[in-house]
Amino acid sequence: MFVTPAYAEETPAAGETHTETGVAHEAGHETGVFPPFDSTTFASQILWLVITFGLFYMLMKKVIVPRIGGILENRHDRIAQDLDEAGRLKAEADAAIETYEKELAAARAKANTIATTARDAAKAKADADRAAVEAELSGKLAAAEQHIAAIKAKAFADVGAIAEDTANTVVEELIGQQATQADISAAVAAAKQGA
């Protein structure tokens, strides 16, 4: 270890720093310049930097970077795969729902058909029953009307005899003599006609 003149001239500023910080007294074992500017150490530092950093670079390039990259890619792939799987399951679920909806719609339609048929049948039966009842009722009504008409006709027929009797009695009371049966009958008939 010796101070070459070149070094001494090269770093005068560094030498000053030394004195200020009191290093000069104890830096005798080194070259006497500010240590980072001590160029006697440069060759060794560069050599060892090249060796260590070179090794580090190779290790990073060959082992660490591919490994971490692989881990990240693996995870990325796995996530993508899981997403795909989830998508597939969702599609399956959607399909199942669709099938279910379709079946439900079909069942509903079938139920509708059955209900409509049943309703129609019931309606038809009810209509038929009603028609029958109506027919029966109208038959009874017609019979009743006939009966009434017969009674009425009979009553009318009887009215003539009663009116003649009454008229005979009235005439007899009024004029003291009996009117002829023919006159009374004609008068009653005329009144009936007028009525």
Binding site: W48, F53, I64, R78
Partner: protein, 250 residues
């Protein structure tokens, strides 16, 4: 010697090696480069050895750093830039681990040596140059000729672009180096105050509380800086690599 804030940066030989008159000794700097690589690769190797589909805590950290750099590079240099991923990832992990290891008391900070940061910066710029010329040939020089600038202004702009390109390795290396160096010196100086004031009796012990608080605060700040500088180094690397991938596109 324990109070000397510069001593922590002294490179000391552990195994002297000399080849062809040049000193290639295995030093404490070399030792901590090895430690950095061992710590970073050991962590990344064992954290990911489970290859869990659901990551554990350490695997999450490894994956987070991977995705952090991946998104940074994709944003910075586009999908074509992803071929540089191992480089950017190695740089980030190396610088981050070296910075963090440097936060341990009595540990050597690899990134506080200008030659180390400069070598790393040259690696980045060298990659940009080699790949740029390999991929685009002389079209790579379009990098210095922004599109849409009037020809007269180009006389001014092109030299500026060239100077800014040339200053990149310097700014990239000095930024990291100076941050680590200054942070460690400040930390050591304040910690030194605590020790020296502490020997001055009761008043000194009382007075030592202030630098102690400062030291604690600065330690926190230095952890932030250690991460931030690794991040900045990686971000700038991505930006420079973008020039190699898309020389005309800025």
């Amino acid at each position: 010697m324990s109070n000397d804030p510069i001593h922590q940066f002294v490179v000391q030989k552990i195994v002297p090696i000399e080849i062809g008159g040049i000193d290639f000794s295995f030093t404490n700097a070399s030792l901590f480069m090895v430690a950095t690589v061992a710590a970073a690769s050991g962590f990344l190797y064992f954290a990911t050895s489970q290859r869990g589909l659901i990551p554990g805590r350490t695997q999450s950290v490894a994956e987070m750093s991977y995705e952090f750099i991946a998104s940074m590079l994709r944003e910075g240099a586009g999908s074509h830039g992803m071929k540089f991923f191992p480089l950017v990832f190695s740089l980030f992990m190396f610088v981050l681990t070296a910075n963090m290891l440097g936060m341990f008391p009595y540990f050597f900070t690899v990134t506080s040596q200008i030659i180390v940061t400069f070598a790393l910066a040259l690696l980045v710029i060298g990659t940009v140059l080699v790949y740029g010329f390999y991929k685009h040939g002389l079209h790579f020089l379009q990098l210095f000729v922004p599109s849409g600038v009037p020809p007269l202004l180009l006389l001014l702009v092109v030299p500026i672009e060239i100077i800014s390109f040339l200053s990149r390795p310097i700014s990239l290396s000095v930024r990291l180096f100076a941050n680590m160096l200054a942070g460690h010196i400040t930390l050591k100086v304040f910690a030194g105050f605590v020790a020296s004031l502490g020997t001055l009796g009761a008043l000194g012990v009382g007075g030592a509380i202030l630098p102690l608080i400062m030291t604690v605060a600065l330690t926190g700040l230095e952890f932030l800086v250690a991460f931030l500088q690794a991040y900045v180094f990686a971000v700038l690397t991505c930006m420079y690599l973008n020039d190699a991938v898309h020389p005309g596109g800025h």
